[in-house]
């Protein structure tokens, strides 16, 4: 056969066609089909038919549609040139200093990938401790309301134009004034001085809340200017007359951390605090003895105190229990002698002179009071009053504002506003277009403090430094730099600071200046030289002061203007974290109100109970014919016959852009509108009600009228039950004498902290009889096998000392910021849906108890109802409460999907990803610390003006180490597990065990009084273990048997035993 092949490559091969044979001979066929096809002329004349067209169209459309369906890509761009210090995922800390005219604190700024996200105290410097306002101030950096560049006449401009306009204005005749808050920065002072010199301007200072009387009294007393330095740490008896030195008075951030040093029961030398005050303040709530005083009697209390100490027998016209309270305080002060300390809050020269005289009489000058000429609070109210008068006369040619907002916080704010309109050129360096800046000709925004170089000197030989932690976000310019530029001496902000302290400084040497670098690392340096000695008292003639103070007459209803711990003087009104942090006393968030005594409210027929649907009654308060309507809030401890209103509210009354959170929101999250269509401010501005006395504002009014209106207003409080209902295992407290008498007893033995035991039907004590004496500790009873946490590996735990907790709430904001806890706004808080992982329970004492009910023949049910009412002037307990990390956690057993589990280090862990949101765990938590994500807080319209994560700029403050929780899951305190993990990794890298104190939760770190201690309970040497073994420590709700890893320590009040 010609063809015996059994396999063919194709039919052509089988039939051996001609074309096949042709091709077979060629290794590289010459004529390729494609060439032929392309060369075919007839193809070019081919038309695409209608159907083909539709097919192509259809295909293209489908292809294009499919291509568009790609999920959005969010690119994360790696560093092209990685900065040397930045390791993604590892935080850097920079020492800096916070100063806003009121709070002065050395801080450490935590930055992640170049973003400052957390502020904590720089504890190594020993000056002050960050409080709630300082912690929360990091939010201000990312406020989208910040000015993004210079403005001229209401619209955006350039620095050149603003500088030119200013130069023009400076050429005019008339007073040219630089008005600032108290300048503590030598560099800023230098630049202002230079500016003033060049342009013939004057520099005036004004504090938001004036403390000028105390400076004036000190000046008369010792002949030198300056704010007295108080030593609260070494004082053994402190008497405060209206000075909230633990909260907002003067340098409170420093005083609080100092005072607490003398409040350790274990030292057996616990200091004592007597408070005389009108409104219940942080200080009053922590006082051992608190006495209610009308504002008009503050001076008389000081007079009587002086009379009792100096032995003149002067009682200031006081009588009855008030006089007895003053005499008791005097007795303690006398016993303390040079370790006594009297501070007075009222901004009244006569009162401050008497207070200074009392300290002198005690011999406290030079011990607890030092006149070192500190620079704090140097505002000059009289000069400001003159300035306002001149502005209104048209005598002021130019006004430059820095760090001050007189159109909001000056007592003469209305006159200032009209005057400002008459000033031809005005300029503000404020970072926000606040009430004053918005009315100025020009706005030349200063850097945020986290973007600035700073040097600060409060007094003595120490300079505190501040450094930028981020490049300026916007086209802003440091104020010092601006002043120098306007003086024609352009210098960078950095060089300005350097040159102030080292005239030989050149930029060439900046990298190898080790002294400077270490100072910057530490956050401060000492200039050398001796501290100025406490000046010698010249002696005051206080007789006229006493006469005047005695002659003060009170009115029917008196008003005290006070500051809240959270809002201070109101400069951070747009900070949602601060607005949502409950006031430590009232527990009300997001609002301003009139505090009133129960008796007064009842006689006026006002609502005393505030809850979700129980609204507050609105009252009309009138001062000098000017009415303000505010809701009334029943405040236990409020002096009957007085009312209190907080300063710091009513920001943005002209609808200024000071931040979305500064305005009241409705139930759907939009801003409420005023009649003029502007956003409605929260509360009312009452700075204007300060009584002017010799040109100085005094923050009380001795005669106001309070009228009932028929309006109601919802207030949002995080706590609506005020008393502890006699539940002995929640808060344990004792008095100092009882403590001392049993201070050496073992844990669980002292009468004030007995172990909780349960009777059992077996002969435990071995006396052969089974009776009530046979009992076992609650830990002996358990259904479950114990978690193997004792003695194995780490066992993270915490102790919280109720004696030293002042309720300041610094921990609350620190926790909020560290853990990205959602801010939910007033309407949600009113519905009891605040998300605080960490809260501070505040309990007032009640006059009533079941015991008293039994004695007086009142039934059990009626007694319980009476126990819900706090005393008129109650003792107060602050109890920080967060997840107790129970070793036998009730939440863990009930979760159907095991989303909450116990770690082998004693942590109760919450796995958000696994949570399906049955909320059973939250129900079953005896401490009610679990929080549910009721909405999508990151996207739902209700939270658009409130929640930081809904703002593309503010979102940058979120901590990248902590998940932002989704809608529908439970969240709660994790004991900052991200920090524990970091600490463990660091220890692992170092190849050494974790050193006690290197890992701290945000709350423990933030606590200015070190009431919260965190650590490893399995480490016998750790501080937390020592505290847990202390005989004051106990478990809250011990009898529930959940075995928490958090211990509380019995509160000791420095009072006499009731029985003696």
């Amino acid at each position: 056969m010609a063809n015996n092949k059994r396999y063919w490559t194709g039919l052509d091969d089988l039939h051996q066609t001609e074309a096949f044979q042709n091709l077979q001979g060629q290794e590289f066929p010459q004529h390729q089909a494609m060439d032929e096809a392309l060369g075919d002329e007839s193809l070019t004349s081919a038309t695409t038919g209608r159907r083909d067209f539709l097919k192509f169209m259809g295909f293209s459309l489908a292809a294009a549609t499919l291509a568009a369906c790609e999920t959005p890509v969010v690119k994360s761009i790696p560093y092209t040139n990685k900065p040397e210090e930045v390791t993604p995922g590892v935080a850097n800390y920079y020492a800096s200093t916070y100063y806003n005219g009121q709070d002065y604190v050395n801080v450490m700024v935590k930055t992640r990938e170049g973003r400052p996200i957390f502020i904590k105290s720089n504890t190594s410097t020993g000056v002050g401790h960050a409080n709630v306002r300082v912690n929360a101030s990091v939010m201000g950096l990312y406020d989208s309301a910040r000015l993004q560049g210079p403005h001229l006449e209401g619209s955006g401009s350039s620095w050149d134009k603003v500088d030119a306009k200013l130069a023009q204005a400076m050429a005019q005749d008339g007073r040219k004034v630089v008005l600032t808050n108290t300048v503590l920065s030598p560099s800023l002072q230098r630049s202002i001085d230079t500016f003033c010199q060049v342009h013939g301007a004057e520099h005036l200072q004004l504090d938001a809340v004036s403390h000028s009387a105390i400076r004036e009294a000190a000046e008369e007393h010792v002949g030198s200017k300056g704010f007295p330095a108080f030593d609260f740490a070494s004082a053994s008896t402190v008497v405060t007359v209206g000075a909230d030195f633990l909260g907002t008075w003067a340098d409170a951030a420093y005083y609080a951390s100092e005072w607490i040093k003398g409040r350790q029961p274990e030292s057996r030398d616990m200091s004592k605090l007597h408070a005389f005050e009108t409104v219940m303040s942080m200080t009053g709530s922590n006082a051992d003895t608190r006495t209610m005083v009308r504002p008009s009697d503050h001076g008389k209390v000081l007079v009587a105190l002086h009379g009792a100490i100096a032995g003149t027998g002067e009682t200031g016209g006081l009588e009855g229990p008030l006089l007895v309270a003053v005499q008791n305080a005097a007795k303690d002060l006398k016993a303390a002698g040079p370790r006594g300390l009297v501070v007075a809050g009222v901004n009244d020269l006569d009162a401050q002179r008497v207070a200074a005289a009392i300290n002198t009489a005690l011999g406290a000058d030079g011990t607890t009071v030092k006149y070192n000429g500190e620079g704090l609070l140097a505002g000059d109210d009289k000069a400001f009053a003159q300035l306002v008068a001149d502005m209104n006369k048209g005598d002021v040619a130019a006004l430059i504002l820095h760090g001050t907002n007189p159109a909001y916080h000056a007592a003469q704010k209305d006159a200032f506003r009209t005057g400002l309109a008459k000033v031809p050129f005005s300029l503000s360096t404020a970072g926000l277009a606040d009430e004053s800046a918005a009315r100025c000709t020009a706005m030349a925004p200063d850097h945020h403090w986290l973007e600035s170089w700073m040097d600060l000197r409060i007094g003595g030989t120490r300079i505190d430094l501040g450094q930028p932690t981020i490049q300026p976000l916007f086209d802003t310019r440091a104020a010092g730099e601006s002043f120098m530029a306007w003086a024609g001496q352009a210098v960078s902000g950095y060089d300005l600071v350097r040159l102030t302290h080292n005239p030989r400084y050149t930029s060439a040497g900046m990298y190898n200046d080790s002294e400077w670098n270490s100072a910057l690392h530490d956050g401060f340096y000492m200039t050398g030289g001796d501290m100025p000695d406490s000046a010698v008292a010249l002696g005051l003639d206080i007789a006229p002061s006493i006469a005047r103070l005695k002659s003060i007459k009170g009115g029917g209803m008196e008003l005290a203007l006070y500051q809240k711990q959270t809002m201070g003087s109101g400069d951070q009104a747009g900070n949602p974290m601060l607005q949502e942090t409950p006031d430590p006393i009232s527990k009300v968030t997001w609002d301003n109100y009139v505090t009133m005594a129960r008796t007064d409210m009842e006689s006026m027929g006002l609502n005393t109970y505030i809850a979700q649907r129980d609204k507050a009654s609105v009252v009309k308060v009138t001062v000098d014919g000017e009415p303000i309507e505010l809701p009334a809030f029943m405040q236990p401890g409020q002096t009957p016959g007085t009312i209190g209103i907080a300063l710091g509210y009513g920001r943005g009354d002209g609808g200024e852009n000071i931040g979305k959170a500064a305005y009241a929101t409705d139930e759907d999250g939009g801003h409420l509108q005023t009649g003029e269509g502007k956003p409605m401010p929260i509360g009312a501005n009452v700075f204007g009600w300060a009584t002017m006395q010799d040109g100085t504002p005094r923050y009380d009014v001795h005669d106001v009228t309070v009228e009932v209106t028929d309006k109601e207003y919802p207030l949002a409080a995080t706590q609506i039950q005020n008393t502890v209902m006699d539940r002995g295992s929640v808060v344990k407290e004792t008095d100092y004498t009882s403590y001392l008498s049993e201070a050496d007893k073992a844990k669980g033995r002292a009468s004030w902290n007995k172990n909780h035991t349960l009777a059992v039907h077996e002969d435990v004590n071995g006396d052969g009889i089974i009776d009530a004496q046979d009992s076992k500790k609650t830990s002996a009873f358990d259904l479950w096998k114990s978690h193997p946490v004792e003695g194995i590996g780490h066992r993270w735990g915490m102790t919280i000392d109720l004696t030293t907790c002042t309720g300041c709430s610094a921990c609350v904001t620190a926790c909020h910021i560290e853990n990205n806890v959602p801010v939910v706004g007033k309407d949600e808080v009113r519905r009891h849906r605040d998300m605080h992982w960490m809260r501070i329970d505040r309990y007032y004492a009640s006059d009533w108890s079941q015991e008293r009910g039994a004695e007086e023949g009142v039934g059990v049910i009626a007694s319980y109802t009476k126990m819900e009412d706090p005393s008129a002037n109650p003792q107060t307990v602050h109890m920080p409460m967060m997840c107790q990390h129970c070793n036998h956690a009730p939440c863990e057993t009930v979760c159907p999907v095991a989303a909450t589990t116990h770690s082998n280090e004693g942590l109760n862990q919450m796995t958000y990803n696994r949570c399906i949101g049955t909320r059973y765990c939250a129900n079953n938590c005896p401490y009610k610390v679990r929080r549910f994500n009721w909405f999508n807080y990151q996207g739902y319209a209700k939270f658009q003006n409130i929640n930081p994560s809904q703002d593309s700029l503010t979102r940058l403050v979120l901590n990248p180490d902590v998940t932002v929780r989704a809608r529908g899951v439970i969240e709660k305190c994790s004991m900052c597990v991200q920090r524990i993990q970091e600490g463990k990794l660091n220890a692992k890298k170092a190849g050494a065990p974790i050193v006690d104190g290197t890992v701290a939760t945000a709350c423990a770190e933030a606590c200015p009084t070190h009431a919260i201690t965190f650590g490893d309970l399995n480490d016998d040497q750790s501080k937390v273990r020592t505290n847990a073994n202390n005989n004051r420590s106990y478990h809250a709700l011990e009898e529930v048997g959940v075995q928490p890893n958090i211990f509380y320590m019995t509160k000791v009040r420095n009072t006499e035993s009731n029985e003696s």
Binding site: A611, Q612, R613, Q719, I720, Q721, T723, V724, M725, D726, R727, V730, E828, R831, H832, R833, D841, Y843, V860, I861, Y864, T865, M879, M881, P890, T893, V894, C895, P896, V897, A898, R914, C915, I916, G917, T918, R919, Y920, A922, N923, P926, Y927, K928, R930, R931, F932, N933, W934, F935, N936, Y940, A966, R967, G968, V969, I970, A1036, L1037, V1040, V1042
Partner: protein
């Protein structure tokens, strides 16, 4: 053939013949829908649609549209759940327990009682689903092998027990109900003429031919299923009660809960059967099958279970005082005198006092009184769950966390909506299903006695 003492009231009145029974039950299915039925199903389905709308809004927005808060994390959701599960108790009790006890009177009511059970359990199942924060991952409560790692459910959690208890109860009830329906579907199949109806009922009747072998198997299966279902009657609500009993919350942490919940469930279940049947017997002219005797028997069950519930309430009160635990005693003082005492006293009067009226024979045999009281009992039982859940939670251990609960329109809308869905389903059942177990009923038709003999003599 059933023998009955002459003195006893017969279970079927009106001298019915076998054909009459078939006509009475199948007739309504074959005839056109009556106007009353059309009106009722329109109203109930509108309510159902509104409820579904509320549910969709809830799912789209978040649990925050309810009135729950950090202190009270369950309220109407779980109240409704327990209430519906409770209602779903009567059906199986009637068909299973009464079958085992050979209570023939059950035959007139068991079909609709079981239908009610099925629908009530469906309504109950809605709530654990929608009350979850993330319903889209609700399948995680099932112990499914998965790729999430070694994730498994938590067998310690009473909520997981609920999942098993409810799903078991639902499937057994459904099977039991369906098995009973098969011969009756076959009867309908044999009568209907429309081609579609014929096809549907043929399918539903699974080829039933009525052979003796089929009947033997039918009865065996019924007995076996009754045996399986009986423990479930007690287990389901015991387990539901453990949602509360195993917790640490004062007012929940109580060992009395399982029996107390089971009797409460039977109590409310019978009340709901009364409510529905009293309407149905009138609307579908079944007065001869469901008559005063049946109502009286059910009322007796209500007295017994209602009294057990009353004793349980008093025992709780006593123990709260006797235990000497301050939290426990306060929880009960607060129930009776606190902000939600109104709910407590509604519960007490509806559940403890109202069933005691049935000791009077006149009331027990009065259809109007029974109808009114059955609704009162169901209101009372809803409040019982509300009281247990809300008043225990709103003031528990730490006074700082004491709060309040206020229902929102969505809370109310979803509850009303489930009633609408339930009624829609039940009306559908009444229209298309044999509402009486007609083949079973034929077994108790009196075939002896004077009237029967007279009939035969003709």
């Amino acid at each position: 053939m059933q023998r009955e003492a002459a003195i006893r009231e017969p279970l079927i009145l009106g001298h019915k013949t076998y054909k009459d029974i078939t006509d009475d039950v199948v007739g309504p299915i074959m005839g056109p829908a009556p106007l009353g039925w059309k009106i009722m199903i329109t109203i109930s389905s509108l309510i159902a649609v509104y409820g579904v709308g509320c549910i969709l809004y809830l799912l789209g927005t978040g649990i925050g549209v309810w009135g729950l808060n950090k202190t009270v994390d369950w309220a109407w959701d779980i109240t409704n759940f327990v209430w519906w599960v409770g209602i779903g108790h009567a059906g199986t009790l009637i068909s299973a327990v009464l079958l085992l006890f050979r209570q023939k009177w059950r035959m007139a009511i068991n079909r609709s009682a079981e239908a009610m059970t099925i629908f009530a359990v469906i309504m109950a199942a809605v709530f654990p689903g929608i009350h979850m924060g993330r319903i889209w991952v609700s399948y995680w409560v099932l112990p499914l092998p998965n790729q999430f790692g070694s994730l498994w459910v938590n067998f310690n959690s009473p909520l997981l027990w609920d999942v098993f208890a409810i799903s078991t109860y639902f499937s057994v009830s459904l099977v039991f109900w369906y098995i009973g329906l098969i011969p009756d579907f076959a009867t309908i199949r044999d009568r209907v003429t429309g081609p579609w109806q014929k096809r549907v009922y043929s399918f539903l009747s699974f080829g039933w031919s009525g052979r003796a072998k089929h009947w033997t198997r039918f009865e065996e299966v019924s007995l076996v299923l009754a045996g399986i279902a009986t423990p479930l009657v007690f287990s389901v609500h015991s387990i539901v009660s453990m949602d509360f009993a195993t917790s640490v919350i004062p007012g929940w942490h109580t060992t009395i809960f399982p029996p107390y919940f089971v009797s409460g469930a039977v109590f409310s279940g019978f009340a709901m059967v009364q409510t529905l049947l009293l309407i149905m017997r009138k609307g579908m002219k079944l007065e001869n099958y469901i008559h005063v005797k049946h109502v009286e028997y059910m009322n007796i069950v209500i007295i017994v279970t209602g009294s057990i519930v009353g004793v349980a309430y008093l025992t709780e009160l006593f123990i709260s005082w006797y235990s000497g635990v301050e939290y426990e005693s306060y929880a009960f003082i607060n129930r009776a005198s606190g902000p939600y005492s109104w709910a407590y006293w509604i519960m007490m009067s509806c559940n403890v006092i109202s069933p005691q009226l049935y000791w009077f024979k006149k009331i027990r045999r009065s259809l109007v009184a029974t109808f009114v009281l059955s609704i009162v009992v169901n209101i009372g039982m809803w409040f019982e769950r509300y009281v247990i859940i809300v008043t225990s939670l709103h003031r528990d251990y730490l006074p700082s966390s004491w709060g309040e609960f206020h229902a929102t329109s969505i809370d109310i809308g979803i509850f009303i909506g489930t009633i609408g869905i339930f009624l829609t389903l039940f009306l559908g059942f009444a229209r298309f299903f044999p509402v009486l177990a007609l083949n079973e009923l034929k077994t108790i038709l009196k075939s002896s006695g004077e009237s029967y003999k007279n009939e035969q003599a003709k």
